[in-house]
Amino acid sequence: MKSSVITFPGSNCDRDMDVALKKFGFKNKMVWHQDVELPKSDLVVLPGGFSYGDYLRCGSMASKSKIMQSVINFANSGGMVMGICNGFQILVEAGLVPGVLLRNKYLEFICKNVFVKINNKDNAYFKNINNNVLELHIAHNEGNYFCTSDQLKEIEDNAQVAINYCDQSGEIKDTFNPNGSVNNIAGIFNKEKNVLGMMPHPERMIDPYLSGEDGSLFLKNLINNLK
C-alpha cells in the first residue's frame, strides 16, 4: 500500500506520521506543499502541526497550497484522505468535510489521552475493527468542532460522524468533552466516507512505551482494509 504525507511549512507531526505508516507496512512518501502532482497513493495524510503558524485561521492558508488542488481532486475522485489535528483543520478550510474548528472551550491547549467511540464502521477507516472504543491522544488548541444545527442534522442523517469523545465504557457525555465540540464530535467524514478528519493523533499511540497502542490497532486495520 502506498501513502503520501504532505508537509506544509509549520507541519510538525509529518515525521511521526511517516514513522507510524511505515511501521504498519505502508510505503510512504513525503510530499512538499509546493509540489503540483500527488504521487500514486492509496492514502493521503494531512499531518498535525501549525501550518503557516496558525496565522489568519488554523489551516486556512495551507488549504490554498499548490498541492491542495491535487488533494481535492484525489478526494473528489474517491481517494482516501485523512487529516489529523491541523490536517483536520485544513480539510475543513478546504471544504472537504463540513463544519469549523474553534478555539477550545477553556481557551487552553490540551495534551492528554482521551477515549473516543467509533460511531460508524461502514467505511474503509473503521470497518472490521473489533473495539467500539479507542484510547487515543489529543494535543490541540483549536479542536472545538462546530456546525449549524441544519448542518448537524445533515451530518447525522448521512452518518458522517466518525468518532465522539466518551469515557472508557463508551458513554458519550459532556464531562468527557475536552474542548466543547458539538455533540462531542472528535472526527467527521465527508458524505462519501473516503475523507476523514479527526483531532486525535493515532500516530502517537503506536507502541506500549508511548501513551498506548490503540493507534496501532487503527492503523493496522486501515492498511488491511485498503489491501
Binding site: N12, G53, D54, F109, A139, N141, E203
Partner: protein, 730 residues
Amino acid sequence: MIVNEKVAIDHGLKKDEYKKICELLNRIPNITELGIFSAMWNEHCSYKSSRLHLKKLPTKGKQVIQGPGENAGVIDIGDNDAIVFKIESHNHPSFIEPYQGAATGVGGIMRDVFTMGARPIANLNSIHFGSTQHKKTKNLLRGVVHGIGGYGNCMGVPTIAGQTSFDSSYNGNILVNAMTLGLVKKDKIFYSKAAGLNKPVIYVGSKTGRDGIHGASMASAGFDEKIEEKKPTVQVGDPFTEKLLLEACLELMAGDSIIAIQDMGAAGLTSSSIEMASKGNLGIEINLNKVPCRESKMTPYEIMLSESQERMLIVLENGKEDQAKEIFDKWNLDFAVIGKTTKTKKIELYFDSEKVADIPVNTLVENSPMYDRKWKKAKLPKKNKINKDDINNLKIIEVLKKILSNPNISSKEWIWQQFDHTVMGDTIQKPGGDSGVVRVHGTNKAVAATVDSSAVYCWAHPLTGGQQVVCESFRNLISVGAKPIAITNCLNFGSPENEENMGEFVECVQGIGEASSYLKFPVVSGNVSFYNQTKDQGIKPTPSIGGVGLINDYTKMITMDFKEIDNVVIVIGKTEGHIDQSLFARVILDEKNGPPPEINLFNEKNNGETLLKLIDNNLIKSAHDVSLGGIITAVSKMCIKGNKGINLKKPKYLISELEYFFGEDQGRYIVEINKKDQKKVLNILNKNAVHYDELGTINENMLFLNEKTKVTIDELKGFNTKWLKEYMSN
C-alpha cells in the same frame, strides 16, 4: 548624538567603564559604538561579576565533548550520538510581558541548541512565582504557561518535565528558566568559531525590527516603579518562523558549506558577530544597508542592538552562497550576504557608504570588565529545638492532606497538560515523574532529563543548598534508571553589588562545584541571571540545575507509580528526621529558621550507584526520590500514581512519627520490590553498606499508618490534584 559620560551612564555603564572605553579606543566612541560596548559589557553578556567564580566549576569528564563557552554543552552518549543541552533564564522580560517573555525564552534556548547542528528533542522549564495570594501571581502564571506552550508546541518539540514553585520572594521578580536538549551526530557538531579570510558573512531568518533594543541591558538591572516603561525592551516571538529556520538550518548543515554559525540572541547582531570574530581571532566587516529590516529608516544603532528573534549569522565557504540561498528561499526566509571576515581583528560597520563603527574585537571581549565583588560568607544557622507539645497534638493524616495540597507539592497537571509532551513520538516518561524521558529515535537508548532547584535550602545556607540541588538532580535521574552524565545551570540571584546576594552566589556556586565534582556530574553549560530584585529586595538564591542522564536499554526505565499488591516498599538512605527548613516546618509549624538538611556526598553517590545496580538487575519495580515533604509525601505520590495503597509502618527509632515521615534528610529513595527478590535486594544493599528501612507492603487502595490510622488513596489524590486547577479557575 554626542556621546559623553551621562549618555554612557544612561546606557547602564559605570563611570570608570566609560573611561576605560575611551582609553581603549583612544578617542570618544560614537553612539553606535557606545551602544555596542554597553551591550557587550553588561552583566548579562559579559559575566563580569560571575566569571571569576564560574571558572572554579568542574567542566570536564569522559563523556564531555563541549563544556561552557559555546552556544550549549555537548555530551557523548555512544554510537556516534551526542546530546546538546543548555538552560537559560528569561526572568526580566517574563515579568514585564509574561507571554512574550516566556515564549522567546523557549525560542532562544532552542536556537542555541540547533545552532550546534542538533535537532531539539525535548524541552524543560523551571518557573517560579510569588505568593499565591499576590495579586499578580495568577496572571503571570497563566501568561508564562501560555507563552511556553505557544512557542514549544508550535515548534513540535515535546516539553517533558519541569518545576514550578511559589514563594513571596518572587513577588516582584518571577523566574522563567528554559532548557532544551538536542540530538546530533558526533561528527556533525557546528561551532561558532569563524575561520578563514574574506569568507562571506550571511544573515538568515526573520527581518530585524525595533523590538528588544537593550533587552540584555534591561536584564542587567533591577526593577523599580518605572518597570512598565521597559515593555519595548521585550522581544516578540514567532515560533512559526523559528520552525522554518530550524528546518532550513538543518538542511544546510547536512552539507559542508558552513564554517561557523551563531544565533542572534541577547544583544543580537552585536554579540553574534563579535563572538564569531573573537573566537576565530579575526575581524568582521558588515554593510548594515544589507541587513534585512522590518521597519524603514532603522539606524545603525538600532540594527546592531535589536533583539528581534529567529535570526542567525553564518560564516560560509566561498562559492556556496547560491546553494545556501536556495534552501532559505525554499523555506521562505530572508537570506543576505552582509559582510565578510577580515584580518583586521576589528569589527567594522558601514552604513550609507560611511564607516559607522571601528572597534578592535579584543576590547569588547578580553578587555571587558571583570569584578571581584565583595561578598559575605553565610553562617550555618543553629538547629531549632522543636517544641514537642507543638507536634504532639498534630494528627498525621491531617498534616499529610495539608502538605499534599500545598502549592509547592500539588500536582502541576494544569500546567503540563498545556504543553505538547508527546509530539515526536518518543516520550516514554511524561511530566509528573522524577525525570522526563525520551527515546533516542530509532535506537534502544533513551535520554532522561530533570530540572531542579531548592531556593529555601539555598537561602538558609547557600553552600549546602548548592550541593543539595546537584544531588537532587542526580537522584531524579537515578530514580528513572538513568546514569547521570552532566548538568547545565541557571544561576538566578539578586544584585551582585549587594554583599549578601553576592555571597549567596559565590557559596551556591561553590556548593554546586563540590557536589558536581564528587558525583562526576560536570557542568557543561549554563547562564547567570543577576539583578533579580525590585528596589533593594532580592529573590531567594535560586540556582536551577538541569541534569541529563542516559538509559542504555529503555525497556529498563523505572517509573514512580506503585505496580503490584503485596510488593514490599523500602526506603534507601538514612532517616534522622531533619525538620528545619522542611515543608513541614514552614507550612505546619510556621518556622522559617534553622539549617537545611545536611549533605553527605559519599552516601549520595553510594546510595545512587547501588540503586542503579539494582535497577540494572531488574530488581526494582518502582522508585521515587524523597525530597520536599519527606517519606510520606513521596509514598503518597507513588500510591496516587499507581492507584494502590500501602500498609506503612515506622521503624522503631527514637524520633517521632512526624519527624520520621516529614523529615527531609537527603540521599533517600523509596523503592518497590517483589517479595521473591527481597532477600537478594537487601543483600546487595548490605554488601554496599547502604542503609535502608522496610516501610511496608502495597495494598489495594488504602494508606494505613501503623495499623491504626487510615485514609483512602482517592481522598489523598483529591487533595493533591485539586489545588492548582481550582486556583486557576477562580
